[in-house]
Amino acid sequence: MSNNIYLPHLVTIEDIYEEAPDVRSFRLVFKDKALRESFDFKTGQFGLYSAFGLGESTFCIASAPTRKGYIQCTFRKSGRVTGGLSELSIGDTMGFRGPYGNFFPVDEWKGKNLVFIAGGIGLPPVRSVIWNCLDRREEFGDITVVYGARTVADLVYKNELQHWGDRNDVRLIQAVDPGGQTEEWQGKVGFVPTVLEEAAPKAENTVAVTCGPPIMIKFVLKALEKLGFSDEAVYTTLENKMKCGVGKCGRCNVGDVYVCKEGPVYTAAEVKRMYNDF
C-alpha cells in the first residue's frame, strides 16, 4: 500500500456523454474492484483527474453519492489536460485522486425548501446536490432549479433538464442569455440573476445553492439578498486553480483560506468574510 499522496487511482471510462459544444461527461469506474465497492464521497467534494502524459485537472464530482459504483465528471475542453481528456474514448484509462475538500451539509437541510441556481458549466457541482436531494426527495420541501447558459446549445445535461422539467416535484426554470435563444426555445431569455429575481422563490425556510461564473455568482448573491435570503442560508462552491488538492502547492488560497482544504463549499456569509482575492 503506497502512502504517496500524489498517486492517482486508475479508472476506466465506462461511458461518455456529449453535453454541449466542447463539454463532455465521463462515467468512471475504479479498476480496483475493492475500491469500486468502498469508494464513498460527499456531495460537493472534488477530485483531480489525470490524462497521463499531460497532467491533472481539478473538477468536482458531478454525480451524487447516492448513486454508488461509479463517479461522473463533466468538463469543458479548454486547456492541455482537458484537451487530452477529450481525446479519450470509452474503455480508456485515466487517473483520479480524491475525494477532497468539504461538502454541502445536505443532512442539515432536512425539511427545508431548496433553490438551485447555476450558470453554464457551473451546473455539474450543483447537479451532484440536486440528484442527492432528489434521491431523498421526501426529506425536503419544494425544490426549484434555475439554470441558464449563454446559448441553448451551451446548456449541459439536456436530457436531465427535460427530466427535471417533467417531474411535478421540481420547479425548473431554464434561461439563455439574450441572443442565445433559438426559434423553438420555450424557456426564459435573460441573465440568471434577473431570471432568479422574477422567479422569486420564497426565502423562508429555504436554502439556496449557486455555482457559475464569478460575475454571475456576484449578482446572484445580490438577488438572493433582495429576495430576503440570509447569507447563512446561501451556499456556493469556489472553483480555484489547484495542483495538489491537499493544501500544499499554494495556489488555491483566497487570502488565508485554502479552498482545497477548507472549501470548496462556503456560505455567502463565509465568502463575504474572505480577503478580496477572487
Binding site: 504517496n4 498517486l7 502524459g53 497532467g55 484509462t93 487517473g95 486553480k241 487570502g255 480577503y275
Partner: protein, 336 residues
C-alpha cells in the same frame, strides 16, 4: 556549553565517513564565483568565509524537481508505478541559524493533514549542522523577526567557530546527539576560544506585531500601498526560489502520452500563470497582487495557520532581487 570539538583537520574525516556510509554531505562551496550549498566529497571544497549560501538548503528536503510516479500507456490500460523516496542520511553543514528555523514551517505545510512523504522522509534523514554567524551584511535581518545568530531552533548541531578555525559543537536534538555518537571518530574532547558572533542590527522601524495586526484587517487588501511599493517587481520569482520557507510547487507530466513521469516541480506565486484559470480569469491578475500574496503568506498565513515563521530574515530575497525590491521596506510600511 560545547559538548565536543570538531577540529578543522577532522572535517575531512567526517565528510569521508558520511559519504562512505552512503550518505550525502552538503556544504557551502564556490560555484561560478558564488557560495552555494552542494554535495562535497572533500573538506577542501568547503568555504568558511561566507555570510550565507546563495541557495537555501530546502532543495535537499524539497527538491526543485522530483518524480512522484512513472507511467506507461499500454493497449490494455495504464501501468502506473509509485516512486518511493530513498531516505539517505543527508548532512547540511554550514547552515545559518536563520534558515535552520525554516524547516518547521515547511514541515507544517507538508504534513497539514495529508502527509507528503517525499518531504517528511527527506527531512527525517536530514541532519542540520549550523555554524553560527561571525559575519553579516546589510541584507541580514534575522533579529528583526525575533531570531539571531544564537537561535538554536531547527539545528541538530549548533557550531561555534573558534579563533583557530575549529568548531565547538553543541548537540541540540536527539538526532544531533546520535550523529555525534555515530561519527565519534571526528568529534573530540577539548575547547577553544569562540569567535565573536555578529548580530545584525534590528530594524527599529519594524514592529512585527503591528505588521500582523495590519494584515489581519482585511481592508488593507485593496489599499494602493501594495501597488505603490511593489510596482517595480518584474515577477521573476527569484525571491521564492532562494527563500527557505517558500514551498509552492506544480505537478506536471513529462515525457510523451505513452510513457513518462509525473513530477513535483518548484513553482512560484509570483508567476502570472500560477493562479490563472482555464477560463482566462485570474484571481491575481496584477503583479502587486502576487507580491501581496507572498507577503501575506509570510506574515499572516504561516504564523496564523501553523504558528510558524514565514520569514526567517535571511535576506536572500533582498540580495537576489534584480530590481532591488526590499521586503523590509514593506514590513516598515505595515509597521506604521
Amino acid at each position: 556549553m560545547a559538548d565536543r570539538i570538531l577540529k578543522k583537520d577532522n572535517l575531512g574525516k567526517l565528510v569521508a565517513s558520511v559519504n562512505g556510509n552512503g550518505g550525502r554531505f552538503i556544504a557551502p562551496v564556490l560555484d561560478a564565483r558564488q557560495v552555494v550549498f552542494k554535495d562535497v566529497t572533500k573538506a577542501e571544497e568547503i568555504v568558511t568565509e561566507y555570510i550565507l549560501a546563495r541557495n537555501s538548503y530546502k532543495e535537499y528536503v524539497f527538491p526543485q524537481t522530483e518524480v512522484v510516479a512513472d507511467f506507461t500507456v499500454e493497449k490494455h490500460g495504464v501501468d502506473l508505478k509509485s516512486r518511493e523516496v530513498e531516505a539517505r542520511e543527508t548532512v547540511v553543514f554550514g547552515a545559518r541559524p536563520c534558515e535552520a528555523a525554516s524547516l518547521s514551517s515547511l514541515r507544517a505545510i507538508f504534513t497539514w493533514d495529508y502527509i507528503d512523504e517525499f518531504y517528511t522522509k527527506r527531512e527525517d534523514s536530514l541532519v542540520v549542522v549550523t555554524v553560527a554567524c561571525t559575519k553579516a551584511d546589510d541584507a541580514c535581518f534575522c533579529t528583526t523577526v525575533d531570531l539571531s545568530p544564537e537561535s538554536r531552533a531547527g539545528s541538530d548541531l549548533y557550531l561555534l567557530e573558534t579563533e583557530s578555525g575549529d568548531y565547538m559543537v553543541e548537540a541540540i536534538t536527539d538526532k544531533g546527539r546520535a550523529f555525534v555518537e555515530k561519527y565519534k571518530g571526528a568529534f573530540t574532547e577539548g575547547s577553544g576560544k569562540a569567535k565573536t558572533l555578529v548580530m545584525p542590527e534590528k530594524i527599529g522601524t519594524i514592529d512585527l506585531e503591528k505588521v500582523s495586526a495590519r494584515l489581519k484587517d482585511k481592508n488593507h487588501y485593496d489599499d494602493q500601498v501594495w501597488a505603490r511599493l511593489t510596482r517595480k517587481c518584474i515577477g521573476c520569482g527569484a525571491c521564492t526560489f532562494v527563500c527557505p520557507t517558500c514551498h509552492c510547487f506544480d505537478i506536471t507530466d513529462e515525457g510523451t502520452q505513452f510513457a513518462g513521469e509525473r513530477r513535483k516541480n518548484w513553482d512560484a506565486c509570483q508567476f502570472d500563470t500560477f493562479t490563472l484559470h482555464a477560463s482566462g480569469h485570474n484571481p491575481r491578475h496584477y503583479q502587486h497582487q502576487r507580491w501581496r500574496n507572498r507577503f501575506m503568506c509570510k506574515f499572516n498565513y504561516y504564523p496564523e495557520k501553523f504558528a510558524s515563521k514565514g520569514c526567517v530574515g535571511c535576506g536572500r530575497c533582498i540580495r537576489v532581487c534584480p530590481v532591488r525590491l526590499d521586503i523590509t521596506e514593506v514590513m516598515e510600511e505595515f509597521s506604521r
